[in-house]
């Protein structure tokens, strides 16, 4: 089951198209020919206004949706050739609408992230325990151990979700709006943690963000989507030109940065 880390992109989309079928009305085209190659250890931020296809793109990358056209390769193989479990050993997802069931303790939930690696029908191995510890630390959630989910704030829950995804020890981490529910300090901390994860553990991170201002923090590669097409792709500083942001988001970047109280650039 141990896959050789293949050379070349760990996630590759080739002219992917996708449309939601609607009864009695024309199909709603969401992705109109997306080609995207993500190398191991990259931090990619998908940006774009609501309805630009970011979440659909993630769902296709994780194999939950089958594209109408084009191909998706994960770890060098077509995504549909992996079983669900094999895929889960490689790709972890932090979905937008994750619900955390009441009654569980933090460490019990994070341990669920070990599910795709579980060998025993009954319990967790020492390896699992170590992975859970590491994930809790990386997501800055170690201090939440022992607490029940229903006692946590929104931000604390989000950190638990991140820890759960990290416990999966994926090669690719897909995050859909991971900063929602987080206050500014934790937003910054999360992005810093993702960046650290990328550098220290070589995990490829693809995150959908709604707020372009946040991208100035971690110097990611930014992919800007608009109406199902990639309109810009490159380092944050290069992509987030005021003119582009103004056109795509309908507001000027200086306004955004001013509103979030950080007018300065990275560094």
């Amino acid at each position: 089951m141990t896959s050789q880390p293949s050379t070349g992109p760990v996630l590759a989309l080739e002219t992917v198209t996708f449309a939601y079928r609607r009864r009695g009305r024309p199909d709603r085209e969401v992705l109109r020919g997306i080609s995207l190659a993500v190398d191991p250890g990259e931090l990619v931020v998908l940006l774009g206004p609501n309805g630009s296809g970011k979440t659909t793109l993630l769902r296709i990358a994780m194999g939950r949706l089958t594209p109408d056209g084009g191909s998706v390769r994960v770890d060098g193989r077509p995504v549909e050739s992996w079983s669900r479990r094999e895929l889960a050993q490689r790709v972890a997802v932090l979905p937008q609408l994750a619900t955390l069931p009441d009654g569980f303790r933090v460490e019990e939930l994070v341990e669920m992230g070990r599910a795709p690696h579980a060998r025993s029908r009954f319990g967790a191995s020492d390896g699992d325990a170590r992975a859970v510890e590491r994930a809790l630390a990386d997501a800055e959630a170690t201090d939440l151990v022992g607490r029940r989910i229903e006692e946590l704030s929104g931000g604390e829950r989000q950190r638990v979700l991140v820890a759960m995804a990290l416990a999966q020890e994926p090669r690719i981490l897909l995050l859909d709006e991971p900063t929602q529910h987080l206050d500014l300090a934790h937003q910054v901390a999360l992005l810093a943690a993702l960046d650290r994860l990328r550098r220290l553990r070589g995990v490829t991170v693809v995150a959908v963000l709604h707020d372009p201002a946040l991208t100035v923090l971690a110097e990611p590669r930014v992919v800007l989507l608009e109406e199902g097409r990639i309109v810009a792709d490159g380092p944050a500083a290069q992509v987030l030109e005021p003119a582009v942001v103004a056109r795509v988001f309908g507001v000027s970047l200086p306004t955004v940065l001013a509103l979030t109280g950080r007018a300065g650039g990275p560094g």
């Binding site: 669900r84 997802v93 994750a98 069931p101 009654g103 319990g123 699992d128 859970v132 510890e133």
Partner: protein, 363 residues
Amino acid sequence: MRASVAARPLVGGPGLGRASLVIGAGIILVVVAALTAIAVGSTEVGLGDAIGILAQRLGIPVTESWAPTAPTILFEVRLPRVLAGIVVGAGLGAAGVVFQALLRNPMADPYVIGAAAGASLGAVLAITAPIILPVLAVGAGTAWLGIGLVQVAAFVGGLGAVAIVLAVARQGGRSSMVTLLLTGYAVSSLLAAGTALLLVNSGRAMSAVVGWLLGSLGGAGYPELAIAAPLVIGGSALLLVQWRTLNLLLLGDEAAAGLGVDLVPARRGLVLLATIVTSAAVALAGTIGFVGLVVPHLVRLVLGPDHRLLLPASCLGGAALLVTADLVARVAGGVPVGVVTALIGAPFFLWLLHRAATASTAP
């Protein structure tokens, strides 16, 4: 790392110590309930007689202090009833947990997607068919593998109804759990109407039909147990090892899929197993209510939602509750056991609702 001290013993879920403690306590509970149920009845025969008779059968010399009928009362009348209570209670407890997790609905019970309605229609058809169509009378008295036609019809009816629900729910496109729930409700209502129609036309079989619908452990003999018990216990065991999938399903479809659950086959397998368990339990004892609804909630309140413990504990809790309820039913002079479980279950359920309501309005 500072995490290592705190997290290490906690990882591994409930831990072997707590798990064995809980399971051990559950087993003791079931054994105590079973021994009490064996010891108590409308005759004087008691536990002492049971021990004496057992000792004698094992070749230990004991003075025969019991009535000559005592062995029959203990081993032919009470014991199969207690065993049926354990099997049916455990099965309903496990199936209840599974349906609540699958449908992510606290009101779900083993009967929610049609197993009970189908089994009832099957059983009532088998009871009344010889009356409505005398030609069928020939087949009604015959036993098949030592099992009455009624039991077979109930089992087949339960499986058939769920199969119909699943097929119809899938016709509507992607079979979401809400669709499944609503389809189950609609199909159950339809089948219940058929059952009611047969009931009013059942004439002299009315008391047999009503008795079956209320549920009873008294009709279960060893031949019935020999068929139903492996189905219920085997099915429950296969459900127990699915605890991880059930936990993941609580996280929602997207998260569960992201963690490697192949949603469609996983759900289908769980529904199939839970339906086999439910149908076998219903075929053995009729439609006994509330066990499958209340026991999982009770256990969840005490032990939390982790299915690694919730499932086996609900099996044991269901067994203990049903054996106890049947004992109460017997002592109360033949009150249907379903009435006793409802008498225990309904107030508990109201309390649960009250508790949930106050919890959500609290600051």
